[in-house]
């Protein structure tokens, strides 16, 4: 039974992360009776633990991502702290060459990118200094606050008549004649006319209950945050192998570096702990923004994130069932969420995305994927690697 006594909804979405909540909000604002459920609290996974970046120029959802972010505060009715623009700093020639692909992708879409020399970087980024090779200034993209955006989606969903059911575990699905008829949960059965699975690391296991195979592997990644510092003119500054931003409050929030592959069974319900990796992140942040070297680190955190074998999302209505949509954004979900939610809405309502070509995000690309792809790619938990 759901919060208000109605058992089920026209569309039930499993996963109250940024993708599921955005999809739920897009559906609810179209007047679709929508219920989003989650095994834990809304946005408690990677959705609320990321760098907040919104500049994904490689993605088929990019143009819609760029169109929507400046409108999101108004559309949702709550603040997301979206800030436009980004500077990426290269400390050496290798990084400079590596980061250049943004220039080409932006040009393809008709967005402007400026190449910066060391002096220009120093002028634009007061906390930078020391060794700088150069940088890029994106006149697009930007960053938002994940926590605030998550709750904005949740509240906006509710304002549109949608429902959110937290701390509700999925126990199984009921199918009938090639359709999903209902979801069995720890709070009882929920009937549905359409089911969306957008459950982050749990997406693969849940989809497999319906006979849909989504190849996924989960990993742990970490971030750190410092005490607030005086605001730079542009907070979206990263580079030197880090992603992140100066928040509107002034904190430096950055991540990057190695991930640790983990078994889903170990991650399920577990708290993600950070490790001494935080020191290696601090080291690179010190080099990126040396004038912040005195700033104190006041928190670190970790999150569990899923990836497909090629790191690209899956957003699809699998042919196996008439009324199922599955979505994993493969470790890059926050920034794309305004667009991915809208794409899922389109798939649910009409079977086709109205604004982007999602053919590269289909599961069929994995038809010839090797069964032991995880091993071939070296995507193995540490214990396994050590034994080997």
């Amino acid at each position: 039974m759901s919060a208000d006594g109605r058992a089920g909804a026209a569309v039930v979405i499993v996963g109250a992360g940024v993708t599921g909540l955005s999809a739920g909000w897009w559906l609810a604002r179209d007047g679709v009776d929508t219920l989003v459920l989650d095994a834990g609290a809304a946005g408690w996974g990677a959705s609320g633990r990321n760098g907040g970046g919104c500049s994904h120029h490689h993605s088929p959802l990019f143009l819609e991502e760029q169109r929507l972010w400046p409108l999101m505060d108004e559309l949702l009715g709550y603040p997301t702290e979206f800030q436009p623009g980004r500077i990426r700093i290269a400390l050496d020639e290798r990084q400079f060459a590596l980061y250049r692909h943004a220039l080409e992708n932006a040009a393809y879409h008709g967005f402007r990118t400026e190449v910066l020399d060391a002096q220009q970087v120093r002028e634009l980024v007061p906390l930078a200094g020391g060794e700088i090779f150069g940088g890029y200034h994106y006149h697009f993209g930007g960053h938002a606050n994940p926590h605030r955006t998550l709750q904005a989606y949740a509240w906006a969903l509710r304002d549109c008549g949608g429902r959110l059911l937290q701390h509700t575990r999925v126990l199984g699905f009921e199918t009938q004649g090639g359709r999903v008829a209902g979801v069995r949960t720890s709070r009882g059965r929920l009937a549905c006319e359409h089911l969306v699975i957008a459950a982050g690391p749990a997406t693969g296991e849940l989809a497999s209950l319906l006979g849909v195979n989504i190849p996924l592997m989960s990993a742990r990644a970490e971030m750190i945050v410092t005490e607030p510092l005086p605001l730079m003119r542009l907070g979206g500054v990263d580079g030197n192998g880090l992603y992140g931003r100066q928040t509107l409050r002034g904190n430096l929030a950055y991540g990057g570096g190695p991930h640790e592959w983990i078994e889903d069974a170990d991650a399920a319900g577990a708290r993600p702990y950070s490790t001494p990796l935080q020191a290696s992140i601090a080291r690179r942040l010190c080099a990126l923004l040396p004038k912040a070297a005195h700033a104190r680190v006041i928190r670190s955190w970790a999150g569990f994130i899923e990836n497909t074998p090629d790191g690209r999302p899956v957003i699809e209505r699998p042919a196996a069932l008439d009324n199922l949509t599955v979505a994993t954004l493969s470790s890059v979900g926050f920034g794309l969420s305004p667009a991915s939610g809208r794409a899922i809405r389109d798939l649910v309502v009409s079977g086709k995305c109205s604004f982007a070509d999602l053919s590269t995000l289909r599961l069929s690309r994995f038809a010839a994927l090797e069964a032991d792809w995880r091993r071939l790619q070296g995507w193995l938990p540490s214990a396994v690697s050590i034994d080997a």
Binding site: H58, G241, L248, R271, L369, Q377, S385, I386, A388
Partner: protein
């Protein structure tokens, strides 16, 4: 499983595999905190054939004290505390048994804070064994250990009123620490807020240290601690004002100059009478002593609310062992109750029990020594009511809307209405639509959700001054009982550390070679207009760096 036995195996050069940090320092038994429990544990374990290391963060760097970490020092640290060596000597004088510990062969490291414990676990298996993050004033470093006894003591609950951000408003334990270990408490006339056992005991200690205790304030109709401790203060000329709360701290250029008190009824409502004014330079907050849980909680020890132990504490067995079998809690961080406060014998016994259990786990000889398990006093039942009473009468009913979270400038109303931070200058279109109970109507509100939305508890003091107040406010507003309000999580580093300090930790060479901003999956960033139709496993043989976004 031996993966290689199944054929060729790829390598993910961007994963943590093979990048374990190099660690030179190691010990068998690490003891964190050199108070009564820690010293007693160290003396018990010394000479048993295992390496014992005892760390204590005092003397704490002045800049850290300035952030009210680890205690609410409230700007009353005297200039003499800047002399590190002089403070070291004072500490050795104040804790004479430290010399015995050193003589017994224990590796004693003062001025050394523990900022994280990192055990190997299924979701963090790249770390071998158990690793502690330590830091002195200059550097941070890692140390391997087999067993750890956390004897981190306790800290004070904060309480927001008009002017509580002024220099001179400080915690009772902070005042005691400065007066004894540092001989650097910059106070002459103090008013004590709260009347529990610890607070009255500290009041007497301050009085002995030459500070005039002008008054003891208690919101309830009667004092909470033993009459005998109160009587000693009264004999020295201290006034006792029950059914009173602080209305406002008045200040001059040096900080607190006087305090104005309001009389309250049993429901915490202000009774309309002329406000009492007392001249003082220091307001000592002794609302509650809270077990210092940050290291235990951040490490993942199971925590529960136990009123008889002073609130949230780590679950321990009869040998002081937490839910993590290599972690023990002893002393005030394992629980606070009146008889334990009145005599150091209990904390010492807990230290011995933990040390003996740790020695057994290490396979060391301990001559069949045994100690009976420690049990707390029967719960007085007044703990929750006391805390809620103070917050209700002082903070919730304050007309001045003081910041409960000083670091992030968040008021009680902001917390209860879940207002976004004020720097956004965002105005809620309809005030009634969202609030504390709208996040999840079916559960008690969660302080971590409040933290994410309002920033309360997210500042440089790491929530030390506000977290108990926030929990109390949430209980008062939602009707939940205090034990049902979850504990907001702690994260390492549990002491603020400069970026440059953390950055100095040595790392494996492979860390730099394989560093990627994201997963290092080349196919992930191929623009969609160039994506191949099929995806096959990528053996990852090419050692090319990948630029993620």
């Amino acid at each position: 499983m031996n993966a290689r036995a199944h054929g060729s195996i790829g390598r993910d050069r961007a994963s943590v595999a093979g990048k374990q940090p190099p660690i030179d320092d190691s010990t068998d038994l690490l003891i964190i905190g050199a108070g009564h429990a820690g010293i007693s544990a160290a003396l018990t374990a010394a000479g048993c054939g295992v390496r014992v290391t005892l760390v204590d963060e005092n003397p704490v760097p002045l800049t850290t004290m300035g952030e009210d970490v680890p205690l609410h020092f409230g700007g009353r640290v005297a200039a003499t505390a800047a002399n590190h060596n002089a403070v070291l000597e004072t500490i050795l004088r104040a804790r004479p048994q430290l010399a015995e510990v050193i003589d017994a062969g224990v590796d004693v490291r003062l001025g050394t804070a523990a900022w994280g414990l990192f055990p190997n676990r299924p979701t963090a298996a790249w770390i071998d064994g158990h690793v502690a993050g330590l830091a002195d004033e200059h550097r941070a470093y890692l140390m391997r250990f087999e067993q750890v006894i956390v004897a981190a003591g306790c800290r004070d609950m904060g309480l927001a009123f008009d002017g509580w951000h002024r220099p001179g408003v400080m915690g009772a334990l902070a005042a005691y620490r400065l007066a004894t270990d540092y001989e650097a408490l910059d106070a002459r006339v103090a008013v004590l807020v709260g009347s529990g056992t610890e607070t009255l005991q500290i009041g007497n200690a301050l009085s002995e240290a030459g500070i005039r205790v002008a008054a003891v304030i208690e919101q309830a109709a009667a004092i909470a601690g033993p009459q005998e401790l109160a009587s000693r203060l009264l004999e020295g000329g201290t006034r006792l004002l029950t059914s009173h709360v602080i209305e406002q701290a008045l200040s001059d250029a040096q900080g607190v100059a006087a305090v104005r008190l309001a009389r309250v009824d049993a429901q915490g409502h202000r009774v309309c009478e002329a406000l009492e004014r007392i001249e003082c330079d220091t307001l000592v907050l002794g609302i509650a002593a809270v077990p210092a849980l940050e290291l235990l909680e951040a490490t993942g020890c199971a925590i529960s609310y136990q009123a008889e132990r002073g609130g949230h504490v780590a679950l321990i067995d009869g040998s002081q062992r937490t839910s993590l079998p290599f972690v023990y809690a002893a002393g005030d961080c394992a629980g606070i109750w009146p008889s334990k406060t009145l005599s150091d014998a209990t904390a010492r016994r807990e230290g011995r029990i933990a040390a003996l259990a740790a020695l057994r786990s290490l396979g060391a000889k301990c001559d069949g020594r045994k100690e009976e398990p420690v049990s707390p006093d029967a719960a007085g039942g007044g703990l929750d009511a006391q805390r809620l009473g103070w917050v209700r009468a002082t903070t919730l009913r304050s007309a001045a809307s003081p910041f409960v979270c000083q670091c992030e400038e968040v008021t009680a109303a902001d917390i209860l209405e879940l207002n976004p931070p004020r720097y956004l200058r965002w105005r809620r279109p309809s005030p009634a639509t969202q609030g504390l109970c709208t996040v999840d109507a079916q559960r008690a509100p969660d302080p971590d959700v409040v933290k994410r939305l309002t920033r309360a508890g997210m500042g440089p003091c790491q929530g030390r001054r506000c977290r108990e107040q926030i929990a109390a406010l949430m209980a008062l507003a939602s009707g939940a009982v205090l034990p049902d309000i979850p504990l907001a999580t702690h994260r390492p580093p549990v002491r603020p550390l400069r970026l440059s300090q953390l950055a100095a930790l040595p790392e494996a060479a492979a860390m730099g070679d394989g560093w990627e901003s994201w997963f290092g999956i080349a196919a992930q960033w191929v623009p969609y207009w160039r994506v191949p139709p099929e995806s096959r496993a990528c053996a990852g043989g090419k050692h090319e760096a990948v630029s993620g976004e």
